[in-house]
Assembly symmetry: C2
Homo-oligomer: 314 residues x 2
């Protein structure tokens, strides 16, 4: 028996306490606490890391304050296009889905793809048809709507109208999206690791854009060495295969989880591009980020618990 550990994130960005009202902060902390509680209860009961990360992410998908599930941002065509992935570190089985407009819990679809086992990654209407065949909960697109994200898209459109898109370039002001992607990593009492991530992607993204979240190795990855979930400017994480890179540095370079995660976040990824949460077999948790804020938290079998939003916390 090993002491279980669970960590979750709710997105990274260049925000400080000045950008978030006290009411928003309470809402965020409450949802993070509920996500940790849901996953932690399963781990405490001896359930798997896989079940815990799925449960924690489902809570955050249902919380409209985060850019995943309900509360997802809008693509340039005014639609939600959600995506998610999950990976089991024991077997390296993985499941992922993208281009979802109606699936209530994208992470559960990712889990269903993994359990089905024929494929790893399904996209678009094929993914939704599979979700329906599996009996997963579907919702009308309006279910996922929030005024906040509708305003976010409108602001982007206004910005684009004023300025040539070419001038925006690759960075594309993703940092205006303060509340991002959600994810979880866990070690269970049998020392098994798992990771899951879910997102609405980037506001005003090209329709059909696939990000790092559902890309195994980029935004989500787990094996016997560590489990990793990333958040930030997804394209940067994809080009660097960031989540897998944490594991590779540990396994081939004899680095610790801390050293590996810090190298990826502070040396490899561009400054301001985001962060990640990761856990290793010993239950070590790291949560480095190279922007001013990342919504993050953890809990452990010993009862320790913390949630932070800004640079100076936990």
């Amino acid at each position: 028996m090993h002491a279980w550990t669970l960590a979750v994130h709710g997105g990274a960005g260049n925000f400080t306490s000045e950008h978030i009202t006290k009411a928003e902060e309470r809402e965020i902390r409450d949802a993070m606490q509920r996500a940790l509680g849901a996953g932690g209860a399963l781990l405490q009961a001896g359930d798997s890391a896989l079940a815990a990360v799925e449960a924690a992410v489902e809570v955050l998908e249902d919380a409209p304050r985060f850019n995943a599930g309900r509360g997802s941002c809008y693509a340039a065509n005014g639609k939600h296009e959600m995506e998610a992935a999950i990976m089991d570190g024991v077997t390296r089985r993985a499941g992922a889905a993208t281009g979802l407009e109606t699936v209530r819990h994208p992470v559960s679809l990712a889990r269903a793809v993994m359990e089905d086992g024929r494929h790893v990654f399904l996209a678009g209407s094929g993914a939704t048809a599979f979700a329906e065949a599996q009996g997963l909960q579907l919702e009308d697109p309006s279910f996922f709507r929030t005024d906040r994200m509708a305003q976010n898209l409108a602001a982007w459109k206004a910005y684009e109208a004023k300025q040539a898109v070419e001038a925006v370039g690759d960075g594309f002001h993703w940092t205006s999206q303060k509340f991002g992607t959600v994810g979880a990593v866990a070690r269970d009492t049998q020392q098994r690791l798992a990771a899951a991530t879910s997102t609405g992607g980037r506001t005003n993204k090209y329709p059909g854009r696939v990000g790092d979240t559902p890309t195994i190795g980029a935004g989500t990855y787990a094996d016997e060495a560590c489990a990793v979930s990333c958040t930030g400017n997804g394209e940067e994480f994809m080009r660097r295969v960031a989540a897998y890179d944490v594991s590779a540095r540990m396994r081939y370079g004899d680095a610790t989880l801390r050293e590996s995660a810090d190298s990826v976040v502070f040396d490899v990824l561009p400054e301001g591009s985001g962060g990640l949460i990761a856990v290793d077999r010993e239950g070590t948790v790291v949560m480095p980020f190279n922007c001013s804020g990342m919504i993050r938290g953890y809990c452990r079998a010993d009862g320790s618990f913390a949630v932070g939003l800004y640079g100076s916390e936990i």
Copy 2:
């Protein structure tokens, strides 16, 4: 000035000379020679590795004998769903696309996504709309049709009707698809590396299935250490982030290209699951595969040239 090197593949599988007629073999060798010729001519003229891998893959996409572009296999819904990726090892810029039904050259769409730079990966109708906006060549879906692939799908449907899908499991007899994915890797005269891969995916795949080919790090990857293009049972390559793993073992584990590629193909990936082609900064080419055949070839600035299909060749 460095001596340029180009390698291409046309798919791996458990085939031997008994499964391929002499006429088919001539067709395959001819297309491989033309692909190497197209890419080699660019490299000889001092053009980039990126341009060379795109040109080589375009030739194989147009050759109906390969499962990419024209000649792609059918998904379970009777449609072609093509995908491709390209990556520049110098900048780690990358582009990818999936779920394409009408794009003549999926690799050129991947290149256009990369050059646009806002995103790395586009899927489905959004990817096709982007292709159209970029002025890329589109074709009616019937353009991609071959009797061979239509028969392949029919055989799969008959097989499924006789046998519960559950019993087929993860392997799903992908090896019946003898002629697969195509890809290219190159080092140019400025010692720059690049990789590209293109495929129709797997016959009878679930609609919307995304494979390793467009997944940066899984089936396609390039950086300053090496450029890699994979072919085989894509899901296995995705779970192991196979293409990036070749680079990680070189950079963190001080392994040579040969050692890294052999470890990934013979120790990490399941036996019979496929192979890869890779090139490093010194121009070393490796083409390991763990099944009985892989269509492969290379050419170099010194005029050396070889194409092989079976285990004993080159």
